[in-house]
């Protein structure tokens, strides 16, 4: 029975859910092409992999176009810095860039404090901290190549790495950024687009709970514009942003299921 199930699922492809969504971008906006020839509401081709670092409790590698990120999760392990008892766990996040991540000279592969704190904020609402009291979970992200929308890729990848480490979460986390140039809104901008954007919008959400854990907006936005982006991202995220993630999670849960089955077989 178990073998039959396994055989059936080897050729799994994500189910396409028939749901209509309103057009996010009007036709009048589509009068110029993006540097990589994508549509305005199209994400870059993504590659997501778990288990990239063998020494970590969980790890993931993500590639969105030219943005390449590796995230490893260590723990839950003893808090080295903790002085007092705490009945909820601690989360420690660090985002760093390699020296060759961006073409700018003299960038010494430094830690990115701003991104570290934003990653922390994005993740703390998703992880069930009370499941690992007194201990710390370390999330280390390394941007191998910076090709635009670095932080959203880091956050999505971190969510995957946490799942791979078996850390309890309310939902898998996904992040996406939107750039506003002139009247057009474009999803998942590359570095060139980020450099000339009028405004940017970064949102982290838990798709199945449609809950926003982190949101930053810069530049000037009108309220209808924000409403539009907010609503479209929520609608969009289960499709373009998460289809890859869902695949991986599905594979991951499949793995767990198969382990459980094996365990049951052993007991019997």
């Amino acid at each position: 029975m178990a073998a039959k199930q396994g055989a059936a699922t080897t050729t799994y492809s994500p189910k396409i859910i028939a749901r209509t969504r309103p057009p996010i971008f009007k036709n009048s906006d589509l009068d110029w092409t993006r540097p990589d020839g994508r549509g305005f509401h199209q994400c870059r081709p993504a590659l997501l992999q778990t288990g990239a670092v063998s020494s970590a409790s969980g790890s993931a590698y993500a590639e969105f176009g030219n943005t390449k990120v590796i995230v490893s999760v260590f723990g839950p392990r003893e808090s080295k810095k903790a002085i007092t008892y705490s009945d909820v766990g601690r989360l420690n996040c660090n985002v760093s860039y390699t020296t060759f991540a961006s073409p700018a000279l003299g960038s010494q592969g430094t830690d990115h404090k701003e991104y570290s704190s934003m990653l922390h904020k994005a993740l703390e609402g998703v992880i069930m901290m009370e499941t690992f009291p007194k201990t710390t979970v370390d999330v280390f992200a390394l941007v191998l190549e910076s090709g635009g929308s670095d932080l959203p890729v880091v956050i999505s990848c971190a969510g995957l790495a946490l799942a791979d480490a078996g850390i309890m979460m309310y939902d898998l986390i996904t992040a996406v950024s939107v750039s506003c140039i002139g009247k057009s809104l474009m999803i998942d901008p590359v570095t060139e687009e980020e450099g000339c954007e009028d405004g940017s919008f970064m949102m982290t959400c838990m798709p199945s709970r449609s809950e926003i854990t982190q949101l930053t907006i810069t530049g000037e936005w009108t309220t209808p514009n924000i409403n539009e982006v907010c609503l479209s991202i929520i609608l969009l995220s289960p499709f373009s942003c998460c289809s890859g993630l869902e695949t991986v999670v599905f594979l991951f849960s499949l793995l767990m299921l198969s382990l459980c089955l094996k365990h049951m077989i052993l007991i019997n």
Partner: protein, 303 residues
């Protein structure tokens, strides 16, 4: 950091649920605001803003610099925030007794330094707009003296003297007041020089010009405690918050920036609701603040 007992927590949350907070305010009412301008003679512009127990000084210093090669038509602005250790023991190591708590807080990642950089980052996001320069609160082009050569570099410094919650709102109000107070001397640039030479500059002692600060946004922070959200939270209330959203709104009613603090997630409809509430609140707050700033300016001129 305030520690509340369970009873106090219930009292706080119950009050907010019934639109009557511990200090007698309604959920969307600000504490008494007090504005004083021109408090630091060494700076080009300065202001002190008090909102309840929160006390801030903002100063604007200007120096002549070169615009960056990437944006030759714009001046530069830097925002620094300093959380004085006297404001709260967790901000520094000034007292022996505070040392232990400080180390603790610092290790937990909430020391004064981290708070300062977080506040500065949020303000930078709200004041400087998008990368192309759209939607800026402070018009960077007006700081330009000669394209590609000479511009004003503005250094905005905020100092938290005393902290009783709602730091970001108070800081944005203080910065707006300080910018209104700022007077830059008129500068004459010698007409034509070779490309690689720095032109001669003549700074006038008598003539000053002021900024147009009407487009500088203010920040409204809505703090979610339980199922309700409140304006201008005190430190006690902030210790009970689940999340807080800081929204910067300009005079036109446009959103110039938004940052979220606090762990728990929010439903998107709640965020959209918060944005519309913040827009509404900011309108009255902006009018109140403007009249206070002009009163303070008039007061300074008299003395």
């Amino acid at each position: 950091m305030v520690a509340c007992s369970v009873g106090e927590q219930h009292f706080l949350k119950g009050g907010i649920a019934q639109e009557l907070r511990t200090d007698g305010r309604k959920n969307l009412t600000y504490r008494h605001t007090y504005v004083e301008t021109g408090v630091i003679p060494q700076a080009n512009g300065s202001a002190r803003v008090r909102i309840g127990g929160t006390d801030m000084i903002a100063s604007v210093k200007a120096e002549i610099g070169r615009p960056s090669s990437l944006q030759p038509d714009k001046g530069k602005i830097a925002v620094f925030i300093d959380c004085s250790p006297t404001a709260e023991p967790t901000f520094g190591v000034s007292f022996y007794l505070a040392l232990v708590t400080c180390v603790l807080w610092f290790l937990l990642g909430r020391g004064g330094e981290e708070l300062s950089s977080e506040l500065a980052l949020a303000l930078q996001k709200c004041l400087l707009g998008g990368k192309s320069g759209a939607g800026v609160g402070i018009n960077l082009s007006s700081r330009l003296i000669k394209e590609g050569r000479v511009c004003w570099d503005l250094y905005i410094d905020g100092l938290v003297i005393s902290s009783d919650g709602n730091l970001l709102d108070a800081l944005s109000a203080a910065i707006k007041a300080a910018l209104t107070n700022t007077a830059l001397p008129k500068v004459q640039v010698s007409a034509e020089v070779a490309d690689d030479e720095q032109p001669e500059i003549d700074i006038s002692d008598e003539e000053y010009q002021q900024f147009d600060t009407s487009s500088v946004p203010i920040i409204v922070t809505l703090t979610k405690v339980g199922a309700h959200y409140i304006d201008d939270a005190t430190e006690e209330e902030e210790s009970q918050m689940s999340s807080a959203v800081s929204i910067s709104v300009n005079r036109a009613g446009h959103i110039c920036g938004l940052t979220k603090r606090g762990g728990s997630g929010l439903d998107q409809s709640v965020i959209l609701d918060m944005i519309s509430v913040a827009k509404h609140v900011s309108e009255t707050l902006m009018n109140k603040l403007d009249s206070k700033i002009s009163a303070a300016e008039a007061c300074e001129d008299e003395s």
